[in-house]
């Protein structure tokens, strides 16, 4: 099993500062919101990639170490994250979502972030369908249940909630603000990789 990414960069065997320099070049060719996997053997790259992402505004998702190769996952910055205006009217905050999770009603949590983002932390039981794949995957979602759509900051989930409503889903709520402020327990799936 592997994490779905838009681009893979092989920086194995390279010493500092090359992993950073190569990542900088590679990310330039990506679309905002796309995810890159950077493979490196430089042990310093674990701290460096994270620091680099923080200074450039890209989103560091996490690192998996396997067979002495560090795989770093980064999502290219997008201005969508800074907009707060959402259009879908039915919204729910994180506290309300938490009490629903603990309640009796069976609900769906639909996480529309990229699979790499989902991999490094999501709400237990959430279903991952990245926004870009939603159009092809409506049939996987149960129309009779309440659907709580979540992403990182509430913008992608807003778009997804609008799409679902257009498709005839009746009970769709956008979770605001999203995983960036979620303080409840999260699951990781990296053990599978």
């Amino acid at each position: 099993m592997s994490i779905t990414v838009n681009e893979t960069l092989d920086a194995r065997g390279l010493a500092c500062p090359m992993p950073i320099v190569k990542t900088k070049k590679a990310i330039t060719n990506l679309q905002p919101g796309q995810v890159i996997e950077v493979q490196a053997t430089d042990k310093g790259s674990a701290a460096d990639i994270k620091a680099w992402a923080s200074s450039t505004g890209h989103q560091y998702l996490g690192t998996i170490e396997k067979e002495n190769v560090l795989k770093h996952y980064i999502r290219k910055a997008t201005d969508e994250e800074t907009k707060v205006e959402t259009k879908h009217e039915e919204i729910i905050n994180l506290e309300e979502l938490r009490s629903k999770i603990n309640g009796d009603e069976s609900i769906i949590i639909l996480d529309v972030r990229e699979s790499a983002e989902f991999t490094f932390g999501h709400i237990d039981g959430a279903v991952n369908i990245p926004l870009g794949e939603l159009d092809q995957r409506f049939s996987e979602i149960d129309k009779d249940k309440e659907i709580n759509v979540i992403c990182r900051t509430g913008n992608r989930s807003d778009l997804a909630a609008q799409k679902l409503t257009e498709k005839g889903f009746k009970n769709v709520k956008n979770v605001l603000p999203g995983m960036s402020k979620w303080e409840g327990p999260t699951e990781k799936v990296i053990k599978n990789y």
């Binding site: 010493a15 500062p17 320099v21 680099w52 200074s55």
Partner: protein, 132 residues
């Protein structure tokens, strides 16, 4: 590090100095900082067409040569090229060039030549200033 300006003075010419200068400069530029390096005195060797291909290790530290090979660090020639690709300004010191009787064409293509005032003008509003 967008909107961050880094000014570096390279005044020494061993392989150690060259890595300090170019590693930090390229890392900063790859992090979207604006970077300029002023090469003066022995630091000029770092951008000299021939000299920078074969910079000496510091006296007494020659045994580190093997370590550089094993760690697979890029060559200084390569790093200087990457620095230029990343838009780093490389400024050679005119006064040192005169003293050493060197012309601009002895250096890698694309460098600027300027005096102390050129660097000061660049560095006056730098957020980070480093000297090697």
């Amino acid at each position: 590090m967008a909107n961050t300006k880094v000014a570096i003075i390279a005044a020494n010419g061993t392989l150690f100095d060259a890595y300090k200068v170019f590693n930090l400069a390229t890392a900063a530029a790859a992090s979207d900082a604006e970077v300029g390096i002023f090469f003066t005195f022995e630091g000029l060797n770092l951008i000299h067409k021939e000299a920078h291909k074969n910079l000496p290790l510091p006296v007494g530290k020659e045994h580190f040569g093997e370590g550089f090979k094993q760690a697979n660090v890029p060559s200084i020639e390569e790093l200087a090229g990457i620095a230029q690709e990343l838009g780093i300004r490389l400024i050679g010191c005119q006064m040192t060039m005169d003293v050493m009787n060197l012309e601009k064409d002895a250096f890698i293509d694309g460098i600027e030549v300027g005096g102390a005032a050129t660097f000061m003008e660049y560095a006056k509003d730098a957020d980070i200033t480093l000297s090697f």
